[in-house]
Amino acid sequence: MTTVLTLIDHPDGAVARTSRETLTLARQLAEQADQPLHAVALAPVADEVVKELGELGASVVHSIEHPSLDADAAAPAVAEVLRQLMEQLAPSAVLGPASDRGAAVLAHLAARTDLPLAANCTAITPVETGWELTRVRWGGVLYEDAHLDAPTALLTVAPHQVAAAPATMPATVERRVHAPVLDDDLHVTRIVDREELSSGVSLATAPVVFAGGRGMGNAEGFAILEELAGLLGGAVGCSRVATNAGWRSHNDQVGQTGTRVAPDLYVACGISGATQHWVGCMHAKRILAINTDPEAPMVTRADDAVVGDVHDFLPALVEEIRTRQG
Protein backbone atom coordinates (compact mmCIF):
# COMPACT_ATOMS: atom_id res chain seq x y z
CA MET A 1 0.00 0.00 0.00
CA THR A 2 1.30 3.41 -0.88
CA THR A 3 1.62 6.27 1.61
CA VAL A 4 1.35 10.00 2.13
CA LEU A 5 4.78 11.32 3.08
CA THR A 6 5.24 14.52 5.10
CA LEU A 7 8.42 16.45 5.84
CA ILE A 8 8.34 18.03 9.27
CA ASP A 9 10.41 20.58 11.19
CA HIS A 10 10.91 19.99 14.91
CA PRO A 11 13.10 22.70 16.37
CA ASP A 12 13.52 22.66 20.16
CA GLY A 13 12.11 19.15 20.53
CA ALA A 14 8.53 19.90 19.45
CA VAL A 15 6.74 19.68 16.12
CA ALA A 16 6.66 23.21 14.61
CA ARG A 17 3.21 24.77 14.26
CA THR A 18 3.42 24.90 10.44
CA SER A 19 4.40 21.23 10.45
CA ARG A 20 1.39 20.34 12.61
CA GLU A 21 -0.79 22.19 10.11
CA THR A 22 0.89 20.31 7.25
CA LEU A 23 0.37 16.96 8.98
CA THR A 24 -3.30 17.80 9.48
CA LEU A 25 -3.81 18.43 5.75
CA ALA A 26 -1.69 15.36 4.89
CA ARG A 27 -3.80 13.19 7.21
CA GLN A 28 -7.02 14.35 5.53
CA LEU A 29 -5.49 13.38 2.17
CA ALA A 30 -4.31 10.02 3.54
CA GLU A 31 -7.78 9.29 4.94
CA GLN A 32 -9.46 10.14 1.63
CA ALA A 33 -7.05 7.84 -0.20
CA ASP A 34 -7.13 5.20 2.58
CA GLN A 35 -3.35 5.27 2.93
CA PRO A 36 -1.05 5.44 5.96
CA LEU A 37 0.57 8.75 6.93
CA HIS A 38 4.37 8.79 7.26
CA ALA A 39 6.48 11.62 8.65
CA VAL A 40 10.09 12.41 7.72
CA ALA A 41 12.28 14.18 10.27
CA LEU A 42 15.99 14.88 10.58
CA ALA A 43 17.60 13.10 13.57
CA PRO A 44 17.72 13.44 16.51
CA VAL A 45 13.97 12.99 16.87
CA ALA A 46 12.96 13.40 20.53
CA ASP A 47 10.49 10.92 22.07
CA GLU A 48 8.16 13.86 22.63
CA VAL A 49 8.17 14.56 18.88
CA VAL A 50 7.41 10.92 18.08
CA LYS A 51 4.50 11.00 20.51
CA GLU A 52 3.15 14.22 18.98
CA LEU A 53 3.44 12.74 15.48
CA GLY A 54 1.33 9.79 16.63
CA GLU A 55 -1.31 12.13 18.00
CA LEU A 56 -1.38 13.84 14.64
CA GLY A 57 -1.98 10.51 12.93
CA ALA A 58 1.46 9.44 11.63
CA SER A 59 2.06 5.70 11.85
CA VAL A 60 5.71 5.78 10.80
CA VAL A 61 8.44 8.36 11.37
CA HIS A 62 11.52 8.10 9.17
CA SER A 63 14.39 9.42 11.26
CA ILE A 64 17.11 10.63 8.88
CA GLU A 65 20.63 10.09 10.20
CA HIS A 66 23.54 11.60 8.32
CA PRO A 67 26.41 13.72 9.69
CA SER A 68 25.69 16.56 7.23
CA LEU A 69 21.96 16.64 7.85
CA ASP A 70 21.92 18.88 10.89
CA ALA A 71 20.61 22.40 11.42
CA ASP A 72 23.07 23.61 8.76
CA ALA A 73 21.93 21.08 6.13
CA ALA A 74 21.66 22.15 2.49
CA ALA A 75 18.19 21.93 0.92
CA PRO A 76 19.29 19.71 -2.03
CA ALA A 77 20.67 17.12 0.40
CA VAL A 78 17.38 16.91 2.31
CA ALA A 79 15.51 16.78 -1.01
CA GLU A 80 17.69 13.88 -2.17
CA VAL A 81 16.78 11.96 0.99
CA LEU A 82 13.09 12.51 0.21
CA ARG A 83 13.71 11.34 -3.34
CA GLN A 84 15.30 8.12 -2.08
CA LEU A 85 12.37 7.55 0.26
CA MET A 86 10.00 8.15 -2.66
CA GLU A 87 11.74 5.40 -4.62
CA GLN A 88 11.39 3.05 -1.69
CA LEU A 89 7.80 3.87 -0.65
CA ALA A 90 6.19 5.12 -3.91
CA PRO A 91 4.02 7.63 -1.99
CA SER A 92 0.92 9.08 -3.63
CA ALA A 93 1.83 12.53 -2.28
CA VAL A 94 4.72 14.32 -0.57
CA LEU A 95 3.96 17.39 1.54
CA GLY A 96 6.04 19.90 3.44
CA PRO A 97 5.37 23.12 5.33
CA ALA A 98 5.87 26.32 3.31
CA SER A 99 8.49 27.38 5.86
CA ASP A 100 11.83 28.72 4.62
CA ARG A 101 13.34 25.26 4.70
CA GLY A 102 10.23 23.36 3.62
CA ALA A 103 9.70 25.58 0.57
CA ALA A 104 13.32 25.15 -0.54
CA VAL A 105 13.41 21.38 0.05
CA LEU A 106 10.18 20.71 -1.84
CA ALA A 107 11.33 22.91 -4.75
CA HIS A 108 14.56 20.89 -4.94
CA LEU A 109 12.59 17.64 -4.73
CA ALA A 110 10.34 18.80 -7.59
CA ALA A 111 13.39 19.76 -9.64
CA ARG A 112 15.21 16.47 -8.98
CA THR A 113 12.15 14.34 -9.82
CA ASP A 114 10.87 16.69 -12.56
CA LEU A 115 7.39 16.54 -10.99
CA PRO A 116 4.97 19.48 -10.75
CA LEU A 117 4.85 21.27 -7.40
CA ALA A 118 1.99 23.31 -5.96
CA ALA A 119 3.23 25.86 -3.42
CA ASN A 120 1.27 27.29 -0.49
CA CYS A 121 -1.74 24.97 -0.62
CA THR A 122 -4.71 25.19 1.74
CA ALA A 123 -6.71 22.16 0.55
CA ILE A 124 -6.32 19.13 -1.73
CA THR A 125 -8.66 16.34 -2.89
CA PRO A 126 -7.92 13.41 -5.17
CA VAL A 127 -10.04 13.39 -8.35
CA GLU A 128 -10.12 10.84 -11.15
CA THR A 129 -7.54 12.67 -13.25
CA GLY A 130 -5.18 13.73 -10.47
CA TRP A 131 -5.91 16.25 -7.72
CA GLU A 132 -7.85 19.44 -7.23
CA LEU A 133 -6.27 21.86 -4.85
CA THR A 134 -6.49 25.38 -3.51
CA ARG A 135 -3.44 27.54 -3.00
CA VAL A 136 -2.80 31.16 -2.09
CA ARG A 137 -1.44 33.70 -4.55
CA TRP A 138 -0.30 37.29 -4.15
CA GLY A 139 1.08 36.53 -0.70
CA GLY A 140 -2.38 35.63 0.59
CA VAL A 141 -4.95 38.06 -0.87
CA LEU A 142 -6.18 35.65 -3.54
CA TYR A 143 -7.01 31.96 -3.65
CA GLU A 144 -6.44 29.84 -6.73
CA ASP A 145 -8.28 26.58 -7.43
CA ALA A 146 -6.03 24.45 -9.60
CA HIS A 147 -5.84 21.02 -11.15
CA LEU A 148 -2.69 18.99 -10.62
CA ASP A 149 -1.84 16.30 -13.14
CA ALA A 150 1.09 14.24 -11.86
CA PRO A 151 2.05 10.66 -10.94
CA THR A 152 2.83 11.91 -7.41
CA ALA A 153 1.47 15.11 -5.86
CA LEU A 154 4.13 17.43 -4.42
CA LEU A 155 2.94 20.36 -2.34
CA THR A 156 3.83 22.83 0.35
CA VAL A 157 1.17 23.90 2.83
CA ALA A 158 0.56 27.61 3.43
CA PRO A 159 1.18 28.72 7.01
CA HIS A 160 -1.79 29.38 9.29
CA GLN A 161 -4.49 28.48 6.75
CA VAL A 162 -5.20 24.93 7.97
CA ALA A 163 -6.14 24.56 11.65
CA ALA A 164 -3.87 21.93 13.21
CA ALA A 165 -5.94 19.20 14.84
CA PRO A 166 -5.07 15.83 16.36
CA ALA A 167 -6.34 12.60 14.79
CA THR A 168 -9.49 11.05 16.26
CA MET A 169 -7.52 7.80 16.63
CA PRO A 170 -3.91 8.44 17.62
CA ALA A 171 -1.54 6.03 15.87
CA THR A 172 1.20 3.93 17.40
CA VAL A 173 4.31 5.26 15.75
CA GLU A 174 6.98 3.03 14.34
CA ARG A 175 10.38 4.75 14.21
CA ARG A 176 12.46 3.79 11.18
CA VAL A 177 16.05 4.90 10.89
CA HIS A 178 17.15 5.90 7.40
CA ALA A 179 20.89 6.47 6.88
CA PRO A 180 21.18 7.80 3.34
CA VAL A 181 24.25 7.79 1.12
CA LEU A 182 24.69 11.30 -0.25
CA ASP A 183 26.96 12.76 -2.91
CA ASP A 184 29.38 15.46 -1.68
CA ASP A 185 27.98 17.88 -4.29
CA LEU A 186 24.69 17.98 -2.43
CA HIS A 187 26.25 19.86 0.47
CA VAL A 188 27.77 22.76 -1.51
CA THR A 189 25.18 25.26 -0.22
CA ARG A 190 25.50 24.19 3.43
CA ILE A 191 25.51 26.99 6.00
CA VAL A 192 29.11 28.07 6.67
CA ASP A 193 28.37 30.84 9.16
CA ARG A 194 25.52 32.57 11.01
CA GLU A 195 24.88 36.19 11.91
CA GLU A 196 22.34 36.88 14.64
CA LEU A 197 20.25 40.01 14.37
CA SER A 198 20.75 42.37 17.27
CA SER A 199 18.25 41.34 19.94
CA GLY A 200 15.39 43.56 20.97
CA VAL A 201 11.69 43.24 20.29
CA SER A 202 11.33 41.46 16.96
CA LEU A 203 8.86 42.80 14.45
CA ALA A 204 7.38 39.36 13.75
CA THR A 205 6.48 38.65 17.39
CA ALA A 206 5.94 42.12 18.95
CA PRO A 207 2.60 42.51 20.78
CA VAL A 208 2.13 45.95 19.25
CA VAL A 209 3.54 47.35 16.01
CA PHE A 210 3.68 51.07 15.21
CA ALA A 211 4.06 51.20 11.45
CA GLY A 212 4.69 54.29 9.37
CA GLY A 213 4.26 55.02 5.69
CA ARG A 214 4.63 57.93 3.32
CA GLY A 215 2.49 60.02 5.67
CA MET A 216 5.34 60.13 8.24
CA GLY A 217 7.04 62.58 5.87
CA ASN A 218 10.70 61.66 6.34
CA ALA A 219 13.14 59.48 8.30
CA GLU A 220 13.02 61.82 11.32
CA GLY A 221 9.25 61.39 11.38
CA PHE A 222 9.78 57.84 12.66
CA ALA A 223 11.33 59.01 15.95
CA ILE A 224 7.90 59.31 17.51
CA LEU A 225 7.04 55.73 16.45
CA GLU A 226 10.29 54.57 18.11
CA GLU A 227 9.23 56.41 21.24
CA LEU A 228 5.76 54.79 21.24
CA ALA A 229 7.22 51.33 20.64
CA GLY A 230 9.70 51.91 23.45
CA LEU A 231 6.96 52.95 25.88
CA LEU A 232 4.86 49.84 25.21
CA GLY A 233 7.42 47.12 24.42
CA GLY A 234 6.49 47.08 20.75
CA ALA A 235 8.31 47.27 17.43
CA VAL A 236 8.41 49.78 14.58
CA GLY A 237 7.25 48.69 11.14
CA CYS A 238 6.97 50.52 7.83
CA SER A 239 5.57 50.43 4.31
CA ARG A 240 7.61 49.89 1.17
CA VAL A 241 7.48 53.59 0.40
CA ALA A 242 9.40 54.23 3.65
CA THR A 243 11.95 51.53 2.78
CA ASN A 244 12.43 52.70 -0.80
CA ALA A 245 12.88 56.29 0.31
CA GLY A 246 15.70 55.10 2.56
CA TRP A 247 13.85 56.21 5.72
CA ARG A 248 13.89 52.72 7.26
CA SER A 249 15.79 49.45 6.86
CA HIS A 250 14.02 46.74 4.88
CA ASN A 251 14.00 44.63 8.07
CA ASP A 252 11.15 46.88 9.22
CA GLN A 253 9.00 46.45 6.13
CA VAL A 254 5.61 44.83 6.64
CA GLY A 255 3.91 43.14 3.69
CA GLN A 256 4.12 40.68 0.85
CA THR A 257 7.84 41.16 0.31
CA GLY A 258 8.57 42.13 3.91
CA THR A 259 7.56 40.59 7.23
CA ARG A 260 4.12 39.17 8.13
CA VAL A 261 3.00 40.30 11.55
CA ALA A 262 0.08 39.29 13.76
CA PRO A 263 0.29 41.54 16.85
CA ASP A 264 -2.48 42.26 19.35
CA LEU A 265 -2.57 45.79 17.93
CA TYR A 266 -1.30 47.19 14.63
CA VAL A 267 -1.12 50.97 14.43
CA ALA A 268 -0.86 52.08 10.79
CA CYS A 269 0.33 55.67 10.57
CA GLY A 270 0.12 57.40 7.19
CA ILE A 271 -0.18 54.07 5.33
CA SER A 272 -2.79 53.80 2.57
CA GLY A 273 -3.30 50.02 2.82
CA ALA A 274 -2.34 48.68 -0.61
CA THR A 275 -2.98 44.92 -0.96
CA GLN A 276 0.73 44.15 -0.74
CA HIS A 277 0.96 45.93 2.60
CA TRP A 278 -2.38 44.61 3.85
CA VAL A 279 -1.33 40.92 3.52
CA GLY A 280 1.44 41.65 6.01
CA CYS A 281 -0.82 43.04 8.76
CA MET A 282 -4.27 41.55 8.10
CA HIS A 283 -3.83 38.92 10.82
CA ALA A 284 -3.40 41.53 13.55
CA LYS A 285 -6.06 41.11 16.26
CA ARG A 286 -6.94 44.78 16.05
CA ILE A 287 -5.97 47.58 13.68
CA LEU A 288 -5.90 51.30 14.41
CA ALA A 289 -5.35 53.54 11.37
CA ILE A 290 -4.22 57.14 11.46
CA ASN A 291 -4.75 58.82 8.12
CA THR A 292 -5.83 62.20 6.75
CA ASP A 293 -7.92 60.42 4.11
CA PRO A 294 -11.15 58.85 5.47
CA GLU A 295 -11.45 56.85 2.22
CA ALA A 296 -7.99 55.23 2.48
CA PRO A 297 -8.39 51.41 2.38
CA MET A 298 -6.44 51.13 5.64
CA VAL A 299 -9.07 53.32 7.32
CA THR A 300 -12.09 51.52 5.88
CA ARG A 301 -10.65 48.11 6.85
CA ALA A 302 -9.37 49.09 10.29
CA ASP A 303 -11.29 48.45 13.51
CA ASP A 304 -10.63 51.99 14.71
CA ALA A 305 -9.32 55.08 12.99
CA VAL A 306 -8.19 58.60 13.65
CA VAL A 307 -8.92 60.71 10.58
CA GLY A 308 -6.26 63.34 10.87
CA ASP A 309 -2.61 64.26 10.64
CA VAL A 310 -0.13 61.89 12.32
CA HIS A 311 1.85 64.93 13.44
CA ASP A 312 -1.11 66.22 15.48
CA PHE A 313 -2.27 62.92 16.91
CA LEU A 314 0.90 60.95 17.76
CA PRO A 315 2.50 63.51 20.15
CA ALA A 316 -0.82 63.69 22.01
CA LEU A 317 -0.88 59.90 22.25
CA VAL A 318 2.65 59.88 23.73
CA GLU A 319 1.52 62.41 26.36
CA GLU A 320 -1.60 60.41 27.17
CA ILE A 321 0.41 57.18 27.60
CA ARG A 322 2.98 58.89 29.83
CA THR A 323 0.19 60.28 32.01
CA ARG A 324 -1.49 56.89 32.36
CA GLN A 325 1.81 55.10 33.02
CA GLY A 326 2.37 57.61 35.83
Binding site: D100, A103, A119, L148, G273, F313, A316
Partner: protein, 254 residues
Protein backbone atom coordinates in the same frame (compact mmCIF):
# COMPACT_ATOMS: atom_id res chain seq x y z
CA UNK B 1 31.47 38.65 -15.39
CA UNK B 2 28.37 37.59 -17.33
CA UNK B 3 25.07 37.83 -15.49
CA UNK B 4 21.52 36.85 -16.43
CA UNK B 5 18.45 38.12 -14.55
CA UNK B 6 15.00 36.55 -14.97
CA UNK B 7 11.92 38.70 -14.32
CA UNK B 8 8.16 38.20 -14.69
CA UNK B 9 5.61 40.79 -15.82
CA UNK B 10 2.75 40.99 -13.30
CA UNK B 11 -0.22 43.34 -12.82
CA UNK B 12 0.20 45.99 -10.18
CA UNK B 13 -3.04 46.01 -8.18
CA UNK B 14 -3.93 48.77 -5.75
CA UNK B 15 -6.00 48.36 -2.63
CA UNK B 16 -8.35 45.78 -4.08
CA UNK B 17 -7.90 43.03 -6.65
CA UNK B 18 -10.77 42.78 -9.14
CA UNK B 19 -11.28 39.53 -11.05
CA UNK B 20 -12.72 39.03 -14.54
CA UNK B 21 -16.32 37.81 -14.65
CA UNK B 22 -15.38 34.16 -15.17
CA UNK B 23 -12.88 34.36 -12.31
CA UNK B 24 -10.08 33.02 -14.49
CA UNK B 25 -7.73 35.98 -14.04
CA UNK B 26 -7.21 39.45 -12.60
CA UNK B 27 -9.08 42.21 -14.43
CA UNK B 28 -6.13 44.25 -15.66
CA UNK B 29 -8.06 46.80 -17.75
CA UNK B 30 -7.27 49.60 -15.31
CA UNK B 31 -3.95 48.35 -13.98
CA UNK B 32 -0.32 49.04 -14.67
CA UNK B 33 2.28 46.27 -14.78
CA UNK B 34 5.47 45.70 -12.90
CA UNK B 35 7.86 43.00 -11.66
CA UNK B 36 8.31 41.67 -8.14
CA UNK B 37 10.32 43.90 -5.78
CA UNK B 38 12.60 40.87 -5.30
CA UNK B 39 13.30 40.90 -9.03
CA UNK B 40 13.91 44.66 -9.02
CA UNK B 41 16.67 43.99 -6.51
CA UNK B 42 18.02 41.21 -8.74
CA UNK B 43 18.20 43.69 -11.63
CA UNK B 44 19.95 46.29 -9.45
CA UNK B 45 22.44 43.70 -8.16
CA UNK B 46 23.24 42.57 -11.71
CA UNK B 47 23.92 46.16 -12.79
CA UNK B 48 26.17 46.75 -9.76
CA UNK B 49 28.09 43.47 -10.14
CA UNK B 50 28.66 43.97 -13.87
CA UNK B 51 29.96 47.48 -13.15
CA UNK B 52 32.20 46.35 -10.27
CA UNK B 53 33.68 43.28 -11.94
CA UNK B 54 33.43 44.26 -15.61
CA UNK B 55 31.22 42.31 -17.98
CA UNK B 56 27.62 42.46 -19.01
CA UNK B 57 24.14 41.84 -17.70
CA UNK B 58 21.17 40.42 -19.61
CA UNK B 59 17.50 40.45 -18.58
CA UNK B 60 15.14 37.70 -19.71
CA UNK B 61 11.41 37.19 -19.44
CA UNK B 62 8.89 34.62 -20.65
CA UNK B 63 5.59 36.33 -21.25
CA UNK B 64 3.29 38.14 -23.68
CA UNK B 65 4.76 40.61 -26.20
CA UNK B 66 3.81 43.44 -23.82
CA UNK B 67 6.40 42.11 -21.33
CA UNK B 68 8.95 44.03 -23.42
CA UNK B 69 7.97 46.94 -21.14
CA UNK B 70 9.57 45.19 -18.15
CA UNK B 71 12.70 44.34 -20.15
CA UNK B 72 13.06 47.98 -21.24
CA UNK B 73 12.58 49.15 -17.65
CA UNK B 74 15.47 46.89 -16.61
CA UNK B 75 17.61 48.21 -19.46
CA UNK B 76 16.80 51.74 -18.29
CA UNK B 77 18.29 50.75 -14.92
CA UNK B 78 21.55 49.74 -16.61
CA UNK B 79 21.09 46.20 -17.95
CA UNK B 80 22.83 45.71 -21.31
CA UNK B 81 20.65 43.22 -23.20
CA UNK B 82 17.01 42.08 -23.22
CA UNK B 83 15.64 38.67 -24.24
CA UNK B 84 11.93 37.89 -24.63
CA UNK B 85 10.54 34.35 -24.77
CA UNK B 86 7.17 35.30 -26.29
CA UNK B 87 4.05 33.26 -25.42
CA UNK B 88 0.38 33.71 -26.33
CA UNK B 89 -0.96 33.27 -22.79
CA UNK B 90 -0.44 35.51 -19.72
CA UNK B 91 1.59 32.86 -17.95
CA UNK B 92 2.72 29.25 -18.05
CA UNK B 93 2.96 26.65 -15.32
CA UNK B 94 6.25 27.05 -13.37
CA UNK B 95 7.66 23.72 -14.57
CA UNK B 96 7.08 24.73 -18.20
CA UNK B 97 8.56 28.19 -17.54
CA UNK B 98 11.68 26.70 -16.01
CA UNK B 99 12.26 24.31 -18.87
CA UNK B 100 11.79 27.07 -21.46
CA UNK B 101 14.22 29.34 -19.57
CA UNK B 102 16.73 26.48 -19.35
CA UNK B 103 16.55 26.00 -23.14
CA UNK B 104 17.06 29.73 -23.69
CA UNK B 105 20.10 29.72 -21.40
CA UNK B 106 21.59 26.83 -23.41
CA UNK B 107 21.10 28.88 -26.59
CA UNK B 108 22.57 32.08 -25.14
CA UNK B 109 25.53 30.27 -23.54
CA UNK B 110 26.31 28.37 -26.75
CA UNK B 111 26.75 31.74 -28.48
CA UNK B 112 28.66 33.79 -25.94
CA UNK B 113 29.88 31.49 -23.16
CA UNK B 114 28.49 30.62 -19.73
CA UNK B 115 26.83 33.08 -17.38
CA UNK B 116 28.77 33.33 -14.11
CA UNK B 117 25.61 34.23 -12.24
CA UNK B 118 21.93 33.60 -12.85
CA UNK B 119 19.69 35.79 -10.71
CA UNK B 120 16.04 35.08 -9.94
CA UNK B 121 13.52 36.59 -7.56
CA UNK B 122 12.77 34.45 -4.51
CA UNK B 123 9.19 34.13 -5.71
CA UNK B 124 7.08 35.76 -8.41
CA UNK B 125 4.71 38.45 -7.09
CA UNK B 126 1.50 37.00 -8.50
CA UNK B 127 1.90 33.21 -8.58
CA UNK B 128 4.43 32.73 -5.78
CA UNK B 129 5.46 29.28 -6.99
CA UNK B 130 8.81 29.37 -5.15
CA UNK B 131 10.45 27.08 -7.69
CA UNK B 132 11.44 28.42 -11.12
CA UNK B 133 14.99 29.33 -10.05
CA UNK B 134 15.58 25.99 -8.32
CA UNK B 135 14.36 24.07 -11.37
CA UNK B 136 16.61 25.99 -13.77
CA UNK B 137 19.63 25.61 -11.47
CA UNK B 138 19.03 21.88 -11.08
CA UNK B 139 18.58 21.35 -14.82
CA UNK B 140 21.90 23.13 -15.42
CA UNK B 141 23.66 21.30 -12.57
CA UNK B 142 24.48 24.56 -10.74
CA UNK B 143 24.21 25.38 -7.06
CA UNK B 144 21.42 27.72 -5.91
CA UNK B 145 20.68 29.51 -2.66
CA UNK B 146 17.29 31.16 -2.13
CA UNK B 147 16.23 33.99 0.21
CA UNK B 148 19.45 35.87 -0.60
CA UNK B 149 19.86 39.32 0.98
CA UNK B 150 23.60 39.88 0.48
CA UNK B 151 26.03 39.02 -2.34
CA UNK B 152 29.81 39.31 -2.48
CA UNK B 153 31.97 37.88 -5.26
CA UNK B 154 35.57 37.24 -4.27
CA UNK B 155 38.06 35.15 -6.29
CA UNK B 156 35.51 33.00 -8.06
CA UNK B 157 33.48 32.35 -4.92
CA UNK B 158 30.06 33.86 -4.31
CA UNK B 159 29.46 34.51 -0.62
CA UNK B 160 25.80 35.11 0.10
CA UNK B 161 23.73 35.92 3.16
CA UNK B 162 20.33 34.29 3.37
CA UNK B 163 17.72 35.84 5.63
CA UNK B 164 16.22 33.60 8.30
CA UNK B 165 13.84 34.65 11.10
CA UNK B 166 16.56 35.38 13.67
CA UNK B 167 19.26 36.80 11.40
CA UNK B 168 21.29 35.59 8.45
CA UNK B 169 22.99 32.37 7.39
CA UNK B 170 26.10 32.57 5.24
CA UNK B 171 26.83 30.31 2.26
CA UNK B 172 29.78 30.10 -0.13
CA UNK B 173 29.18 28.85 -3.68
CA UNK B 174 31.50 28.22 -6.60
CA UNK B 175 30.92 30.15 -9.84
CA UNK B 176 28.84 29.59 -11.96
CA UNK B 177 26.10 29.98 -9.40
CA UNK B 178 22.39 30.71 -9.21
CA UNK B 179 20.75 32.99 -6.64
CA UNK B 180 17.10 33.61 -5.78
CA UNK B 181 17.13 37.02 -4.11
CA UNK B 182 14.84 38.99 -1.82
CA UNK B 183 13.95 42.63 -1.47
CA UNK B 184 16.29 44.34 1.00
CA UNK B 185 19.36 43.09 -0.90
CA UNK B 186 19.94 46.63 -2.15
CA UNK B 187 18.04 49.81 -2.94
CA UNK B 188 17.08 49.70 -6.62
CA UNK B 189 17.91 52.91 -8.47
CA UNK B 190 15.39 55.10 -10.21
CA UNK B 191 16.25 55.03 -13.94
CA UNK B 192 17.95 58.20 -15.19
CA UNK B 193 16.84 60.02 -18.35
CA UNK B 194 19.77 58.66 -20.35
CA UNK B 195 18.96 55.10 -19.34
CA UNK B 196 15.38 55.56 -20.47
CA UNK B 197 16.48 56.82 -23.87
CA UNK B 198 18.87 53.86 -24.29
CA UNK B 199 16.08 51.50 -23.28
CA UNK B 200 13.67 52.98 -25.80
CA UNK B 201 16.08 52.26 -28.65
CA UNK B 202 17.40 48.89 -27.43
CA UNK B 203 16.78 45.82 -29.59
CA UNK B 204 15.00 43.05 -27.75
CA UNK B 205 16.09 39.58 -28.78
CA UNK B 206 13.15 37.21 -29.40
CA UNK B 207 13.58 33.49 -28.63
CA UNK B 208 10.18 31.80 -29.11
CA UNK B 209 9.91 28.85 -26.68
CA UNK B 210 8.59 25.41 -27.61
CA UNK B 211 5.15 25.00 -26.00
CA UNK B 212 4.98 22.40 -23.24
CA UNK B 213 2.66 21.32 -20.45
CA UNK B 214 3.66 21.61 -16.84
CA UNK B 215 1.04 19.73 -14.79
CA UNK B 216 -0.48 22.56 -12.75
CA UNK B 217 -3.48 24.27 -14.34
CA UNK B 218 -5.44 27.19 -12.90
CA UNK B 219 -9.17 26.51 -12.74
CA UNK B 220 -10.25 29.82 -11.19
CA UNK B 221 -9.21 32.60 -8.85
CA UNK B 222 -11.22 33.62 -5.79
CA UNK B 223 -11.02 36.51 -3.39
CA UNK B 224 -11.33 35.32 0.21
CA UNK B 225 -14.45 36.41 2.07
CA UNK B 226 -13.71 39.45 4.14
CA UNK B 227 -16.09 40.44 6.83
CA UNK B 228 -16.24 44.24 6.74
CA UNK B 229 -17.14 45.66 10.10
CA UNK B 230 -17.63 49.41 10.12
CA UNK B 231 -14.64 51.40 11.32
CA UNK B 232 -15.05 53.29 14.58
CA UNK B 233 -13.78 56.85 14.13
CA UNK B 234 -12.05 58.05 17.29
CA UNK B 235 -11.61 61.66 16.24
CA UNK B 236 -9.47 63.78 14.03
CA UNK B 237 -6.35 64.80 15.92
CA UNK B 238 -4.93 65.35 19.40
CA UNK B 239 -8.35 65.01 21.03
CA UNK B 240 -8.52 61.37 19.85
CA UNK B 241 -5.58 60.40 22.09
CA UNK B 242 -7.61 59.32 25.18
CA UNK B 243 -9.82 57.03 23.08
CA UNK B 244 -6.70 55.50 21.49
CA UNK B 245 -5.12 55.01 24.91
CA UNK B 246 -8.32 53.23 25.98
CA UNK B 247 -7.69 50.75 23.15
CA UNK B 248 -4.14 50.19 24.43
CA UNK B 249 -5.68 49.36 27.81
CA UNK B 250 -8.29 47.06 26.29
CA UNK B 251 -5.65 44.96 24.52
CA UNK B 252 -3.55 44.87 27.68
CA UNK B 253 -0.67 47.09 26.63
CA UNK B 254 -1.28 49.70 29.27
Amino acid sequence: MRILVCVKRVPSPGAKITLTEDGSRIDTRHLGFTISPHEECAVEEAVQLAAAHGGSATVLTLGPASAEEQLRNAIAMGIDHGVLLPIDEDEWDPRAVASAITDAIHTLEAEDGAFDLLLFGNESADAGNFQVGVRVATALGRAIVDGVKGVEVVDGTVRVRRSVPDGFTVHALPVPAVLAVKEGLNLPRYPAMRGRLTAKKATIRQLPPTPRTGGLRTLRLRAPQQEQTPTRILGSGAQAAPAAADILEEVGLL
